[in-house]
Symmetry: C2
Subunit: 547 residues, 2 copies
């Protein structure tokens, strides 16, 4: 068989050759922008010439600081296919984190959205490797700024030649990179090879994965700076699906409007957005009926949300699991055909799990002794992964590489259970797990149960020290506005009775205004731990182990 390299060039060229009339649509600054894959391909060729004219060479890092739009898609393909490395910057990071990342990756050029220029202005003097900034807008205009010699994306493209012959690359060449937003320490870089991105595209598209096809109209709400927007821009281009991009600062109403206007069949994002869009659909203000599925990832969707979407809106929520280190798709939760006898409640429970391992990867789940745990749905262990789209290291970071990778496996840091059918359920991040009297308590499970209370908007559970049990859970609860002052600690504790093991019932419940979040919208529990650091549980009561 031919030694044919798996590269993104084939992804780009397939769209141009077979799907020239299919469309890409953006909610742009000045309204709806749409063009065909044929136009898109010509612009990637112009963009490749722009990169060449800017002195970008094979392997050089080209950064983007941008929302989800067609220009970002052009960069997604043109940068790696011309041999450089696409480095997507998280626009929600603190300036000092951005400075660290840009310098650590040694980015030579940054392509920045016009409304994000102020963010770059504030740090530009601390970026010694940066040679040039290109401002993206829907016109040639560059907003006034203190940037040194900024260039206009649209002007550069207009002036560049439309002809570019993309080079032959090795499948092992780096194509893209992304830094994880670690809650402690500096961000860690992950480099994606062409091979990994192509193989991930295959696996993510399969019928039992995201079931992606040419006829789909796909809207990634998940940011393009977050783990390749779950690979969707590459997959959709390859398969010729219609792509809809929500543009700058999209709100829930924008998302609903785009889905309705363009008959989006598949949308992808974190639960926060689907919690926000739900009332807009439930009230009948917008029509979600074109959606065949919503892909939920980033963090787990509460079962109540999955149920509401299914029963009130007839929209399925598909749970997927992955991380920056895994390109990202690893697990997808669809029931197997031999599980037909489930009740509706059991189906929702299954949907709320992270799911089955996709073809192409290997997993094992190990206990504290590094031995594999039984698949009984109860025993917890750490999820380890290996496979062709799993990182082997952190970029130029040998110490943290050593911490996270061992014997050819990635240690995900996620504590999970696996049931007898192989469905994985994330119980906790290893650092968030609560160890009480020798037993593990899943803060995630406890949070989800508390969030099933009709008055609760959200809840986060952390460990506090206990003189006898070492650690005990403390629940931070945010009430829905209309319930403020109406619900007390005992109401919450009463609600948990019979729904959770007795030893899991929190020793303390604290009502707070909001759960602090990280730049990618996940609960930032370190901040809660700091806030409640002085609290230790001395609660006696019944022995939680035997109670």
């Amino acid at each position: 068989m031919m030694a044919y390299d798996l590269t993104l060039r084939a992804v780009l060229e397939r769209a141009a050759k077979l799907f020239s009339k299919k469309e890409i649509i953006t909610r742009d600054y000045s309204g709806t922008f749409r063009y065909t894959y044929s136009d898109f391909y010509k612009r990637t060729q112009r963009l490749a010439n722009v990169l060449k004219n800017l002195g970008i060479k094979k392997g050089d890092r080209v950064a983007t600081l941008a929302w989800n739009h067609h220009r970002h898609l052009e960069l997604y393909l043109a940068v790696p296919v011309s041999g450089a490395v696409l480095h997507t910057l998280n626009l929600r990071l603190a300036p000092e984190q951005l400075i660290y990342i840009i310098n650590h990756a040694a980015d030579k050029v940054i392509f920045v959205d016009k409304d994000l220029v102020p963010l770059l202005e504030s740090i530009q003097d601390q970026l010694p490797t940066l040679e040039c900034v290109v401002v993206m807008s829907d016109t040639n205009e560059i907003p006034p700024s203190t940037l040194k010699n900024p260039l206009s994306y649209e002007t550069l493209l207009t002036e560049a030649s439309e002809y570019f012959e993309f080079p032959d690359l090795s499948e092992w060449d780096p194509a893209a990179m992304c830094y994880t937003t670690a809650t402690t320490g500096k961000p860690k870089g992950v480099v994606y090879t062409h091979r990994a991105l192509v193989l991930h595209s295959f696996a993510a598209s399969l019928p039992d994965s995201l079931n992606l096809q040419e006829s789909d109209v796909v809207m990634p709400f998940v940011p393009m700076f977050h783990a390749n927007a779950w690979g969707l821009p590459f997959v959709c281009t390859w398969l010729g699906a219609t792509q809809v991009f929500p543009g700058a600062r999209p709100q829930a109403a924008d998302v609903c409007q785009l889905i309705q206007d363009h008959k989006v069949t598949l949308a992808a994002g974190v639960p926060t957005i689907w919690m926000a869009t739900y009332p807009l659909w439930e009230s009948g203000e917008y029509d979600p009926s074109s959606l065949r599925e919503i892909v939920n990832g980033g963090s787990a969707a509460p079962m109540s949300m999955i149920k509401n979407y299914q029963e009130k809106l007839s929209v399925s929520i598909l749970h997927a699991y992955g991380m920056t280190e895994t390109t990202p798709v690893v697990l997808v939760s669809r029931p197997k055909s031999n599980m037909g006898g489930m009740t509706a409640a059991e189906k929702y429970q299954l949907s709320a799990r992270q799911g089955l391992l996709v073809p192409g990867l290997e997993m094992k789940v190990v206990g504290e002794d590094d031995e594999e745990i039984p698949w009984n749905g109860k025993t917890m262990g750490e999820l380890l992964l290996r496979g062709p789209w799993i990182a082997k290291e952190y970029y130029k970071d040998p110490i943290r590489t050593q911490e996270a990778f061992s014997n050819g496996w990635l240690r995900t840091g996620d504590i999970v259970t696996v049931n007898s059918e192989g469905y994985v359920s994330v119980a906790d991040r290893s650092k968030d797990l609560i160890k009480s009297g020798g037993e593990w308590i899943s803060s995630l499970d406890l949070e989800n149960t508390i969030m099933d209370h009709p008055a609760v908007l959200e809840a986060a559970v952390i460990a506090i020290p206990h003189p006898k049990w070492v650690e005990r859970p403390l629940a931070c609860v945010v009430l829905k506005q209309e319930y403020e002052g109406q619900v007390n600690v005992q109401d919450i504790l009463d609600f948990l009775k019979g729904k959770t093991p007795k030893i899991w019932v929190p020793d303390r419940v604290e009502f707070i205004d909001a759960i602090p979040r990280t730049s990618v919208g996940k609960f930032y529990k370190a901040a809660l731990r700091t806030r409640f650091t002085e609290i230790a549980s001395t609660k006696e009561g019944s022995d939680p182990i035997v109670g």
Copy 2:
């Protein structure tokens, strides 16, 4: 990203770990046999020990001479995953071809079905590399034969240890091989790497390809000795689909019975079988309603058949194209979502095309000057392919390797047109094409048009010499039994008026009893050419070029 090898071990182990309760079903000698993937996996481990005990080492060729059944599936996985090379022998070959192939591959062991033992007996003395024969049956019994020291498959498995640790392999290691049944010259060997088979499994499963998933019940009627049964045994094992095998010498009624009994959702085979099953379904004798799709390959299905299946049985026929050299799936014919405005007739026409290139491969279509032809649906050229599951050579056959491979491309020998949407339509094998007055005439198109005549069972068109136009078409027509003697040459010619270009109308029509076929059921035109070799057309009439 990890340097993780793509091997069939992951395919086998995924089934064992995630789909242990799903089933594999065979129409066995003594009735229906069924077992789970869990049982299957244990038997592959035993089989790996058997191979080891027989002295099979990494890279050794292990041959099978067998029908489609679960034992063959065990060999499909156990042989390559333990490091040897699975060589599937075509049981329809002439003895001298089998001798050539077995010796050319230097097979060490042959696993033979009990009812195929006589075929092997007749040639065993001419196989110097053969060390051992294992007879497969549903019992320990070995039928009386002249085989020297034959072993029983079931006895060997029973006696072998159930524990086997499969070795680490490179994705570039050979996993399987298959010889093409060339209509001229010796058969040519193609070696499949683990990498190619895994990547092919991804591409073949995609929603826009065969759309394979865990919930499918798949029956490969296509023989397992023919181009990996189109990859289905590997794909289905990987995805945990239920597999149904039709066993020894299946007839049309057996196929219908199996589909009905096991609620088969996807069946795959050459058009001959679907022509034979049609009346059994059309009469209501069997129920085809579980079928979501029939995959047709090997040769093109007539449009009338596709139409009948859709309109009378509500069963879709999906056209796929490939060859032994391409693992095999290359093209699949599904309409694109932007082609919605088609009439029913246009849809059937599209379905009868070979289709769109699957993700992962590259194609080009070149004329006689080796320049790419325009994609206008009319201009013909030869289809060239490259990609990770395309052969790079014929096994130990440098001369014919040089003929078929050039500059990193496989020359398929298929003459095709491509329409503006990228759909490929095979017009002819290059050697069957008729060149008349400087224009190419597609014998396949002409045959399909003739076969639309209600009295025609089948038709084959070949070239005969002509003093002015160099070549002209001659049509060999087989009438349906009930029409014999009722239809004459002029009726056929009248039928073609307006349906085909004037210059394509055959100069001669010959009624014959049957079209000779190759061992894989394709028209064997070389035999017709020999039979009609003395005929030259001297027909004058109107100038076909300007007519």
